[in-house]
Symmetry: C2
Subunit: 347 residues, 2 copies
């Protein structure tokens, strides 16, 4: 299961970070889901192997522009590039009305099926290799987290039990493994679930929108492997800015992640004041965010950057894989330079 | 007077070209005007010295997304970056309604003064060092060209005439030069216009939106120095695609520019099928556009690329200056490499 960050800045884009967009892709599939679609998300995609034509579902966390202004352009380009596959959009009602207004007023003709699902707490979708649910957050406007639980995990036969129950091998083994119940010639009915088990535990990722109260995610994070959450500020800056923007600090998220027993925590949506390379004395470094989070959370901690791809492995461990834009330029077979090489990037 | 191309692709962005946006800036001013604002125009600006805070006016040629989807994000970022200066928006009425819908539905609060002017043939604005007029084109939706005529050209005294009329030097010389009429102690009233002349002829640039009939610009181009016009296709491809998209071919624009006696012609808004570096045999090269235009136009011909800055000098000659993104990375004082060096780029 792969998570790719297409935008990790809050509010405005910078030269290093675009506004919010996160891709999540199941193992062994070219289909994928997109959470949020800030302006120029389609431009970011041009530097990744993620194809807009294989995008199955877009989920918008809330109606602020830095999370949805890229939606009309992405949908328009899908149209111009000949998309015919249906696309599902999950979002607050206001985002759908925004999109409808744009379509009407800018002469945009979308002919592939675009299915809108208004987000609410009862949402439960099976799509693109995930069961997706939605969980309300606390922000200036209604904001949501989306929980992605892996589906379609291949089953293994419980051979010990089959032997114990004296069930001879045959075609019905394959049926049981495929999830079908079977009736034996002797009349016995075998329930697939009783004679199989998942090859691995379903992996679960929660990707949250803007939110000042991480504790609201207690239920959504139960059994989850990874939480992707905004950490717009450090606690000091959050207190200086005041509560009005309704964002979280690194401390706030880290404390929650620790209390929820989360093994992997990914921070994103950083205020542009935090620079990757602080040059002047008054510059704030992104390392301040990392340092503050580390004080309160001892699990696997990551700070997302644009174009970074991460894998959540079958054991529920998150790993940095590569920077899709930067590492793309390395010539195949060429010895990696320090700059282009994938590096271990976690604490 | 400088023209900077922020997007030169039609319809969809590519890795080399963004969708439409062109900046025009008077000589010796940090204030500037923007024609069209495709998605990610604000991102492109991050790689140029053009400051959104010094942007005086945005003019949208028509309501298609590749010409206006960057507007909400640009205006939002101006707000988040503390803009207080007023901004004028000239556009078709539908673009204003689109913007209003976005503002309402995405919780966008713009507190700096945003003045909307609906485009029509009677438009005449004096702003940012230009007198701006609008000229209707032919496209699938109402589309416009904007004509920028330089204003505020410093005056020179007609010393020969002053001497001839026996007018002694004094403070009134400075008044005349500043455009003020003066009364001499002997009662004679001197008209500024009679004793001064412009230091150079006003430069005029016409920047057109999507248009299948360049001849509509005959009036607008009278006395103009430079026409910036779409050349979406070569004639062969235009005929293959058919007239429905209502775009121009290189031939069509070049023939018009020749007949109008234009000294400088800048083509832009290229179909993504024309590649800068054609790699495969079936790839079409952007040089096909240049070649076709050259067959019909012998003036100064340019094909715009993203981040290219051009100067229209006081003699009305257009010159390539530099690629603002690429050449920015050259270290000051360092010997230019072939790749980074400004090159003469015109035929």
């Amino acid at each position: 299961m792969q998570i790719t960050f297409l935008g990790t800045s809050s509010g405005v884009p910078s030269r290093q970070r675009n506004v919010s967009a996160t891709a999540i892709q199941p193992e062994k599939s070219r289909h994928w889901a997109l959470v949020d679609c800030g302006e120029a998300t389609q431009h970011q995609l041009l530097h990744t192997p993620l194809s807009p034509q294989k995008l199955s579902i877009v989920l918008i966390t809330h109606r602020h522009g830095d999370h949805c202004y890229g939606l009309p352009g992405l949908l328009a380009s899908c149209q111009l590039n000949g998309r015919t596959e249906p696309l599902t959009l999950v979002a607050p009602e206001a985002v759908w009305r925004y999109l409808q207004a744009v379509i009407e007023l800018t002469d945009l003709h979308i002919t592939y099926p675009l299915q809108f699902v208004a987000v609410n707490s009862a949402l439960s979708l099976n799509i693109a290799g995930f069961r997706i649910t939605a969980h309300p957050l606390s922000h200036r406007v209604p904001s949501w987290a989306y929980r992605f639980e892996e589906t379609g995990i291949p089953k293994k036969l419980n051979l010990a039990r089959l032997k114990e129950d004296g069930i001879p091998s045959g075609h019905h083994y394959a049926c049981l493994q495929a999830g079908e119940d079977v009736e034996l010639p002797d009349g016995r009915v075998l329930n697939s679930a009783e004679y199989t088990f998942d090859s691995w535990s379903a992996r679960t990722v929660v990707i949250a929108g803007d939110n000042d109260t991480p504790e609201l995610l207690s239920e959504a994070c139960r059994g989850a492997d990874l939480l992707v959450h905004e950490s717009t500020y450090t606690q000091e800056v959050l207190e200086h800015v005041g509560p009005e923007p309704q964002h979280s600090s690194a401390e706030r998220v880290a404390r929650f992640a620790a209390s929820a027993g989360l093994r992997n925590l990914m921070l994103t949506h950083f205020s542009p004041r935090y620079l990757k390379k602080a040059r002047k004395k008054r510059d704030r470094s992104i390392e301040e965010i990392r340092h503050e989070a580390r004080l309160h959370y001892s699990g696997r901690l990551f700070l997302a950057e644009d174009f970074e791809a991460y894998v959540l492995d079958r054991n529920g461990r998150c790993h940095y894989v590569q920077n899709l834009k930067r590492d793309h330029h390395r010539q195949p077979g060429k010895q990696s330079s320090t700059r282009g090489a994938p590096v271990k990037k976690e604490e």
